[in-house]
Subunit: 492 residues, 2 copies
């Protein structure tokens, strides 16, 4: 990707279509020209605080205008956005801030206390982006070099140690291009972000907005009635969701059909259950299923609505610039044969920040080794069997058992712990823990949950803790999670 | 652009959407899967004839299926397509074949005599692509490296000596991406090529077809009734035209409106006259005007229909990945101030084949110096005042005076010659020659026209020859074309 530089996307967009609406958030509409002015102001404020090219700046910002201004302002300065998952516990955030060598934390006044706590814990300076301002002139927009890092987004991985996936300007660009070649682009398109902007699923909507020249509609949180109203009355044509959000949207609408202006739900975070697809079909609601990762700047494969039933359970086919292979014991798997999903393309991350070994393990010969298991059928449709074998996806958030196990094991009473997912009607899955205590120690389930809540995001805290005498291990001492799953399913 | 490789576009498209129609030509429809099989056969035939990576192959092919198969087959082999302008005279074609170091000439049986003559003149082997076949297995598709040359298209330039613009895979890719971000992409889009495929305006439609996954409809030649029928009954949504074609289409339709399914005419080759725009507006026909060059793999700027009247005479604003500057005496011109149009972006050619000096003159600091004169207004709209000061655009074809002057001067009776354009209702402009004879020599206008026809494409042959005693020259001996233009306009 080296060599290509483009004009600053928002600056360019503001020159091309200054009067078009680019953002709807907090009850206001902003044209691209207004966005550009607001971003210039935030860029001036950041520059005044010493932020420059290559600096990493953490974002402690809820979905809203200030997230948008800040992420574009940092791109304009050539600095790197490190969006923090607001659901994380303080120690998790602090670890990411330190891991990414963050030089400034930008926060919204509604999160002032958390920002102050983080400043105290990490010694990183903080800036309240919605209260402070400057009269300094805005720094000039510099070209976007596609091989430079735009964003670092943390993903915990199987080790439980968070790793910062470095997404370049080019990764975001090609992701947007791959998506438009798949979903098309119509006059009047309007994309709703009711998923978090700190996730790549939300962030990528902001990128598409400036690249395509369409409005991003940003909701602070997912409220089914508001999303449905935005589709029915607000002209929203595309909404990114995970499948449990989709179910709640149809419930709220009491299965009334959507207006013809509505184009589709883009549904990630695992296959949409057949019964839900059936409801959508009856209502004439197109659902485009997708499989993507933080490391691929969102979508890798998508399933067109016309294939949804013929290829039930499939995540679809790769986007035009993306390739998918299934690797099995050092060879390409045959159609129908399961193996590790490998992804190649210009949307694949540059690597993990300051983690050469983990980067080398993940990126081999240009192929991202996802750790996810799946197969391709004879028409090239991808079926994802298991997200990283032990990954638990709870309400669209990834829960890595190793991370929860480490939190449990840090309690003085715990000898060892194992965490697996249990199916859940509302959340898809929730974490359940099996804990072996140290000899002579006693602890309650509540106490362990409280301990976890201090260290982990709420959605990672085990919904149930089962105390056991021994964890099932194989001859070489490796945990046999399947035995735990069997035990769970036996007990219901 | 180095570093990025993509899967073979047609192979990828045939995997993604095998059953979609990708081509309509010669009364037949072809799915992408069928196209892929036909292309594989042609690739096998070419490989059998020794064509491999980097080889340059000339195309003596009319608009039709075999042009499509051949251009994709050469890309698949990593070879370079050199499409010949079928309107050129034999010596012009021979010069391009030699200039490009062509190793094989591929022709259609309808052009067998011309191919045989060229083989005789250039000693280049020839292959009849619609008659010959092979049972050899198709070569495997290799990745498309975006910085490799895909096409060499000749453009004569001001020197009259043809130069081969090297367009890379990346140039075509980014051109297609820039266009989709501007015009959008809808299910059901279908793009008609009634312009020559040997020009970048036609060729780029074939690239968009495989990249977007939409049908290209290829007409052998421009027939207004057929184009109108394809729009009305054939589902065509976009048609690339030059403005005199647009006028003939409206005439043929007797100003009946087009169906709502029709999206737009993409009109290149100079601004659309106001009176014609007015007719289009009354009929509700959207016209997207554009300015582009061979060297930029087609569109550079486009003018949206909603701006057509407000910005009458403008060619519009740059595509998203493209930048335009106006240079004047080594500085950027102010808004409204005319200067040379410079273009930068990933769609700009790699250079002229084996012409390092001319390449260095054209590409400076990443900016293509177009030689065209224009200005930007204060909203960033480009107005093209003059295509390379002396360029004559006749029916969408470029006529470079220097080339015609050289042909005239090669006649033994001619001492010197000057060629300028005269406005023409049908063609936009036609070439007119001013000729000074050698002392004591006599020649008729017909004889000079016949002489030119042997050397030049018909559209370059002067429509009128005026014999003069002296050509107007300034103190330094430079031809003063403006004096000739005044003389022409005086005489009407």
């Amino acid at each position: 990707m080296s060599g290509i530089a483009m004009p600053d996307w928002l600056a360019k967009r503001a020159r091309l279509t200054p009067q078009r609406i680019g953002l709807e958030a907090g009850g206001e509409q902003y044209t691209f020209a207004q966005m550009h002015r607001n971003v210039a102001e935030v860029a001036a404020l950041l520059a005044e605080r010493g932020v420059g090219r290559g600096d990493r700046v953490a974002l402690l910002l809820p979905n809203g205008t200030h997230f948008v201004w800040t992420v574009h302002a940092l791109a304009r300065l050539g600095a790197v956005s490190v969006p923090l998952n607001l659901r994380l516990a303080a120690p998790e955030m602090a670890a990411q801030i330190q891991e990414a060598d963050v030089s400034l934390l930008v926060y919204h006044s509604s999160l002032a206390q958390r920002a102050a706590d983080l400043a105290h814990a990490t010694r990183v300076p903080i800036l309240c982006v919605d209260k402070e301002s400057t009269h300094a002139p805005p720094p000039t927009a510099t070209p976007f070099e596609l091989d430079r890092t735009h964003t670092i987004i943390f993903t915990s991985g199987t080790t439980g140690r968070p790793k910062g996936a470095m997404l370049t300007f080019g990764n975001h660009w090609w992701s947007a291009v791959g998506s438009v070649l798949n979903l098309g682009l119509r006059e009047g398109d309007k994309w709703l972000a009711c998923v978090p902007l700190f996730h790549v699923s939300g962030l990528s909507i902001l990128m598409r907005s400036v690249i395509y020249g369409i409005p991003a509609v940003v909701h602070e949180r997912f409220e089914p009635a508001r999303v449905n109203a935005a589709i029915e009355y607000g002209g929203v044509t595309i909404v990114s969701v995970v499948s449990n959000m989709l179910a709640r949207l149809l419930d709220e609408r009491a299965d009334r059909p959507y207006p013809p202006s509505f184009r589709c739900f883009l549904a990630g975070g695992g296959p949409v259950p057949e019964i839900l697809l059936e409801r959508c079909r009856e209502l004439g609601v197109p659902v485009v299923q997708t499989y993507g990762l933080t490391e691929t700047a969102s979508q890798v494969v998508t399933l067109a609505p016309e294939d949804a039933f013929r290829k039930l359970g499939s995540a679809g086919k790769p986007l035009f610039p993306v390739e998918v292979r299934i690797a099995l014991e050092g060879r390409d798997a045959e159609p129908g044969e399961a193996g590790e999903i490998l992804v190649r393309g210009p949307n694949v991350m540059a690597g993990y920040y300051k983690r050469p070994e983990e980067t080398a393990r993940a990126l081999r010969g240009g192929w991202l080794h996802t750790g996810d298991v799946g197969y391709l059928d004879d028409e090239g449709f991808l079926y994802v069997l298991d997200r990283r074998s032990d990954l638990i996806i709870s309400g669209g958030e990834n829960v890595y058992p190793a991370e929860v196990e480490a939190a449990l094991a840090s309690h003085p009473a715990v000898a060892e712990a194992a965490v697996i997912g249990r199916e859940d009607a509302d959340w898809g899955a929730v974490p359940v823990a099996f804990v072996k205590l140290r000899p002579g120690r006693v602890v309650t389930e509540d106490e362990l949950a409280r301990h976890c809540r201090e260290l982990l995001a709420g959605y990672k805290v085990p919904r149930e803790v089962r105390f056991v005498d021994e964890l099932p291990r194989n001859a070489s001492g490796k945990l046999v999670r399947s035995a735990l799953r069997e035990e769970l399913s036996r007990d219901g």
